[in-house]
Amino acid sequence: MTAHANRRTRTAATFATAALILALPAVAQVDLGTEEQRAAGKVVYDKYCGQCHGDTGDGNGYATPRVRPKPRDFTTGKYKFRTTPNGMLPTDDDLRRIIEIGAPYTSMPGWPNLTSAEIQNVIYYIKTFSPDFENPDRYAEPIEIPRPLESTEESVARGRVLYEEQACGACHGEVGRGDGASAPTLVNDKGDPIRAADLTQRWTYRGGPTKEDIYRTFSTGLNGTPMPSYADSLEVEDRQHLVNYVYSLGDGDDPNYGTLITAVYSAEPIDLQDEETLDALFESAPMTRFPLVGQITEPGRNFFPPVTSIEAQAVYNRDEIAFRVRWHDLRADTSGRNNPSLEVPMWDEDNGIGGDAADDAGDSDDFFGDFGGEEAPAEDDFFGDSGDDFFGDGGDDFFGTADAGAGGAEFSDAVALQFPASLAPEETPELKPYFLYGDAQNPVDLWFVNLTYGVADTFRGRGSDSIEPTEADIVEAVTSYDQGAWTVTYKRRRSSRAGVSFAEEQYTPVAFSVWDGFNRERGNKRALSSWFYVYTEPSVEQAVAGPVLRAALIVLAIELLVVFLVRRRARQKAADEEASGATLTATEAPAV
């Protein structure tokens, strides 16, 4: 153990010196490590990396069919996150960076537990997968990344002009929400669909959120993706202005995920048709962002949902409560079908649009049955109708929309709010319905909006296989799609006889679901949240001064009382002592 650790530190030291020596002349050169290092790297790789990147480095690991973006195929020698010019190989530091911190919101995790030497070894091993690393011509110096310019108004304005001139918006959208006109058609070198980054959500940038990262991204380009390099078309200073503009599009460094919607009181009527006053009403309500993840607990799993968060707010008046939710989507899919209980055949778990659905569906047997086990009885169900669906309308429709882009997917965008049908009894306040569409004992109500129609339908859920339309309450909704953002506003009476009522100062559980039709999401294939809460703030604002003053006065009164009592007793005692002291002196006369 100690010997092992010793060896590690020694290797690390060697590398540190080596790095120093290399850094001095700053010449890019072929460094493939020693046989021993590559062998040590293979051990790390086989344990931690092969299940995604493939045991032979071809990007075909066990997880590959179910993740997007797909794990890098190391045999191509193409890397996204580099400090080197477009088309060149990454430096060891580039590789080290991605291995240490990962690419957020992808399945490539950071590996903070690997030692520096282990990372270096695995880098040497990764290099063996592509002959490019033996070719000195494929190496280049890292570009210089200047210190960011101050983000003045002029700089941002100049950046905006460049953003328009260079047509970044064609992919990233006019205000950067990833909804550019060509966004739905983008594919990478391997023909897999790829999304233009949502520039407003900096925390999801795969290459990192800092100004230096952004500068690097569009100076070197992301090899193998449609994201080009602008090193040749833009001067250094212009690129710095562009960084400031891209940065200004961002919604903060951090998603600041919350757990609570605070519904604020308003005396005003809530009129969904009057856009202006409605907007003004929501202006006063705090906005909370909630994380969404793929539904992968029940059949119809969604392994790569494009929508990763939703924002929500709420207002209420005497009789009604209104919720507003907002999320980003690369285009409005408003022509297809959708509802919470649409069936999702098994083969569609692995495939979004584009790519080779047929191949994957064909050999999905490989994934499930090749290691000697009999098939789970439940699985038969999926395969039973998947075949039909696939070769029947599923397949046709699928190829019909594969070249999508022009709008009109098979499935429409949709959203749902989920509430328990009744609040938990007082003795078990933690009790809730199952967060996936409820359960038999504790049902949920869904306020579902299929964005093809833009009206709210209500469903009662008693589990994924029991979702029935209800008409007990009337829920109204208005919807809008603007530059990559869906906004849906709901309204209902606060009191309900069949479902949950929203009393003042009440915590009501709420959960969200979002369906992206473009990603073939429908039924249980959705992005969802766990249970959160909506708190209906008291309509009468609580005065702070009163209770604070009261607390101070009560304590002061107690203090004064104690002081008064103690002093009075002391006085009495003194008086008593004086009286008895007189007798004492008389009898014993102690010395004073």
């Binding site: 299940q51 066990y62 609570l260 793929g294 000697g372 439940a378 199952y434 766990s530 304590v555 002061l556």
Partner: protein, 272 residues
């Protein structure tokens, strides 16, 4: 560790140590105990604990402290004596005046902080390892939880090659199904973990797999969140019931793999 804010807890313990060393006065001890408990509940946890629980604990300990102080005449006299001196002796007059102002100030601040505290969603505790059933039926096969064991575990010694095959199949099952939640390195930190509450279990943790029998893990894999009794808040858990997706063999294989990957052994039968 255990949701504790270690620096705070250690600081409180250190103050206690100093007091013991200096043989502090009873009154100081009482004030310390009350204050330390208050600070412990307010700042001592990294996970929020329900306000109501803290209030109950503080109420009970407050009563206990008062009854301790007044448990005998001498102790009571000893405890209140410094207070009497503070109130009566002229040389403490300034200190007394200060205290008369400071305490209401503190009370006012506390009331203010309570009123303006940012709202928080209610949080509830849950049993992480609730008691398993005595029998488990998966895919029409019933096993006795007390005596069942992973049927492939013994290959580790009897037939390492076959063992390796089962582990490899478990690896496949894991990376086709589990890592989004439990993480690539099994740290409970998969790419979906941040959106789930409760968070997925961390299999690197010595308090998890090594403390469990393989039959317990089998139960959790086969029946998932919904299979738990109410104490485990089954309605919140995203843990799937894998019997819907996997064969019995695949479930034992992935069970084998998560132990093997972390270098752990299941808790042996009959060990408690």
């Amino acid at each position: 560790m255990w949701g504790l804010n270690l620096p705070i807890v250690l600081a409180l313990a250190a103050i206690g140590g100093v007091l013991a060393w200096r043989r502090a006065h009873t009154l100081v001890w009482l004030l310390y105990t009350g204050g330390a408990l208050w600070a412990f509940f307010r700042f001592g946890f990294t996970v929020p604990i329900p306000q109501s629980v803290a209030t109950i604990y503080l109420g009970i300990t407050g009563l206990a402290l008062v009854s301790y102080a007044s448990s005998s005449r001498e102790r009571l006299a000893e405890t209140v004596q410094p207070i009497q001196r503070l109130i009566l002796e002229p040389r403490y007059r300034l200190a007394l005046a200060g205290l008369l102002v400071a305490l209401p100030g503190l009370a006012a601040y506390n009331a203010y902080a309570d009123l303006t505290m940012p709202l928080e969603a209610p949080g509830f505790g849950r049993e992480i390892h609730p008691p398993p059933p005595t029998e488990l039926t998966v895919h029409d096969e019933t096993i006795d939880m007390a005596t069942a064991e992973n049927p492939y575990l013994h290959y580790k010694h009897d037939d390492p090659e076959l063992y390796g095959k089962h582990v490899e199949n478990g690896r496949r099952v894991y990376y086709e199904n589990c890592f989004w939640c439990h993480g690539d390195g099994m740290g409970g930190d998969g790419m979906f973990a941040h959106g789930l509450n409760p968070v997925p279990s961390n299999f690197n943790d010595v308090g998890t797999l090594p403390a469990l029998q393989s039959s317990f893990v089998h139960w959790r894999i086969a029946k998932g969140g919904p299979g738990m009794p109410a104490g485990g808040t089954p309605w919140d858990s995203a843990m799937p019931a894998w019997e819907k997706f996997l064969t019995t063999e695949e479930m034992w294989d992935v069970n084998l793999f998560i132990y093997d990957f972390n270098g752990y052994e299941p808790r042996a039968l009959g060990q408690h």
